[in-house]
């Protein structure tokens, strides 16, 4: 039938542009525009809830103290603690202790990163080394690093070296294990894609393995920081005097020695605040950016 074969041919020749249009339509249907958050929405969903919770907690605290009326040196109210914080700021104790601790925590953490990252890459590369020292590293991660304080005092005396040693013993195993699990969790398909594209050895490590392991690595860094900070406070609390500078942990120990609960709470709240601020200003945005960029986080 010539008539039908003509119409058939017309359809066939018309197929190419149709196909392009259909494909473009499908692309438009299947991609959603990303919605960005307004400043107001950010305030309403992210800023307001914790602020309200904090105010509520302070009110409950004040109310409890007002009703029960305990001895102020055992359980001071938020107003007394606030006065103590202000006094410590004015006389310079708190800013000094904060700066000392923060400097040790951050520099100790950075040294830990510099040691742990190549160590983790080496262990990941070399199966024999991994089975040899993998369990030890996991064990060290579980061991509370303040358990090293007595040994460190014997080895390094009451010096900053003692504090750094304890911090490193706390942070390094966490970062190593974080990076290792980041490498373990790389989808095999990505490694295969990398190899098919011709990446091997150094190229595969830097262009595929490292970026692919980033989420696990970042989780390790986050935990490594937490361990640094905790170990530091533990070390400062236990090892006092000598050439060790006066940090937040030392302030805490001082409060206990003079039985002044307001000083103790000032130190505890400051330690807590540092943890929150570092998380909110540094790790949280970094993690969100990383995960959102990979489509692993919706909001």
């Amino acid at each position: 039938m010539p008539a039908e074969s003509t119409s058939q041919n017309t359809r066939n020749t018309a197929e190419a542009p149709d196909n392009a249009a259909a494909l473009a339509g499908l692309d438009a249907l299947q991609t959603r525009g990303g919605q960005s958050r307004t400043a107001g929405e950010f305030f309403r969903t992210r800023v307001a809830p914790p602020v309200v919770a904090l105010i509520a907690a302070l009110m409950v605290w004040q109310l409890t103290v007002a009703i029960i009326d305990p001895r102020p040196d055992i359980m001071p109210g938020p107003l007394e603690v606030g006065r103590q914080i202000w006094a410590s700021i004015v006389d310079g104790t708190l800013p000094g202790a904060l700066a000392t601790s923060l400097w040790r925590g951050v520099s100790g953490f950075l040294i830990a990163v510099a040691v742990a990252t190549p160590l983790a890459l080496l262990i990941a590369q070399w199966a024999g080394l991994r089975s040899a020292i993998g369990p030890l590293i996991t064990g060290l991660q579980v061991l509370p690093s303040v358990a090293w304080v007595p040994a460190a005092i014997v080895w390094f005396g009451l010096s900053d070296a003692t504090v750094y040693f304890v911090v490193l013993m706390g942070a390094i195993p966490s970062i190593v294990n974080g990076m290792l699990s980041g490498i373990d969790q790389i989808p095999p398909q990505l490694l295969k894609a990398g190899r098919v594209l011709g990446a091997d050895g150094w190229k595969l490590a830097t262009k595929v393995v490292l970026p692919a392991a980033m989420p696990g690595y970042l989780a390790g860094l986050k935990q490594g920081w937490a361990f640094s900070w905790r170990s530091l406070m533990g070390a400062e609390l236990i090892a006092i005097g000598g050439s060790i500078g006066f940090g937040l942990g030392s302030l805490l120990a001082q409060g206990r020695t003079v039985s002044d609960m307001a000083i103790v709470l000032t130190a505890v709240l400051s330690i807590l605040l540092v943890g929150i601020v570092i998380e909110l200003l540094f790790f949280n945005p970094l993690e969100k950016k990383l995960l959102r960029g990979r489509g692993l986080l919706v909001r």
Binding site: L26, D27, L197, R294
Partner: protein
């Protein structure tokens, strides 16, 4: 297409692959020759060693028996999952392939755009993979595979995770790109109509061990000026439908052999 007639790019002789003695051979006694510019569809049930066969051609795995001759430069490869790197934009994914292929930095940017235009995605260079649909990701994957400038393109069920509408459109796109680029394509699928629609040759692979049990040449039926379907008084569609049914029947027969 300007292809040199009968220039073999892939040759396998008595090829066999065994991973472990207790599992037996995955591939055995496989003979296959593929000519430059051919589109070969490889059909087989699960466990027929299709992926292993592609890995051997790509040089990712060594055969344990027989010999394989493939381009020394290796082959480009596409998977069911596009395998795009999620930390790179679509454009950077393609660019990385160019970089690893040794293309100088200055030439990369334009080439990336050319390749994305070839797969009809001219404006997604700055999008991350998760912002694209499955079909778009596969096209970026195709652009990345083409960036390698390899003679042979191996495709491991690239459309099997897509919805039917997208799959139909991408099949047409692949045929268009095949004609434009003149690549030699080995396309794995478990979908008989897809194999018949795309391949010039359809090869049926048996399972455990995998070897080629039958081959159909669909090329003549697709050529508009061909003799075949008029001779038997059928339209081209009818002829291809019939071929699809024949192959489906043969595939089921082959799978049925494994029943106990």
């Amino acid at each position: 297409m300007t292809t040199t007639p009968s220039e073999t790019v892939i040759r396998m002789e008595n090829l066999g692959k065994t991973f472990s003695a207790e599992d037996g051979a995955v591939l055995q006694g496989l003979d296959l020759e593929i000519e430059r510019g051919q589109f070969v569809a490889l059909l087989g049930a699960s466990g027929s060693g299709k992926t292993t066969l592609l890995n051997v051609v790509a040089g990712l795995e060594e055969p344990t028996e027989g010999s394989v001759t493939a381009p020394a430069q290796g082959a480009a490869m596409m998977f069911q999952d596009a395998g795009l790197f999620p930390w790179l934009t679509a454009g950077k994914n393609v660019e990385l392939a160019l970089e690893l292929a040794g293309v100088p930095k200055a030439a990369r940017k334009d080439r990336v755009q050319e390749l994305l235009e070839l797969v009809r995605l001219p404006s997604v260079a700055d999008k991350r993979p998760h912002e694209l649909s499955g079909g778009m990701r596969q096209r970026v994957g195709l652009a990345r595979a083409l960036a390698q400038e390899r003679e042979v393109l191996l495709m491991d069920e690239p459309f099997s995770a897509l919805d039917a509408i997208t799959r139909d459109l991408l099949q047409e796109e692949l045929l268009r790109i095949w004609e434009v680029t003149g690549r030699t394509i080995v396309f794995i699928t478990h979908n008989v109509s897809e194999a018949v629609h795309l391949g010039q040759r359809v090869l049926l692979l048996s399972s455990r061990p995998g070897k080629i049990v039958e081959e159909w040449d669909t090329g003549p039926w697709k050529d508009p000026g061909s003799y075949g379907f008029e001779a038997v008084g059928q339209s081209r569609e009818e002829t291809l439908d019939q071929l699809t049914r024949t192959i489906t029947h043969r595939l089921r027969e082959e799978i049925g052999r494994h029943a106990r």
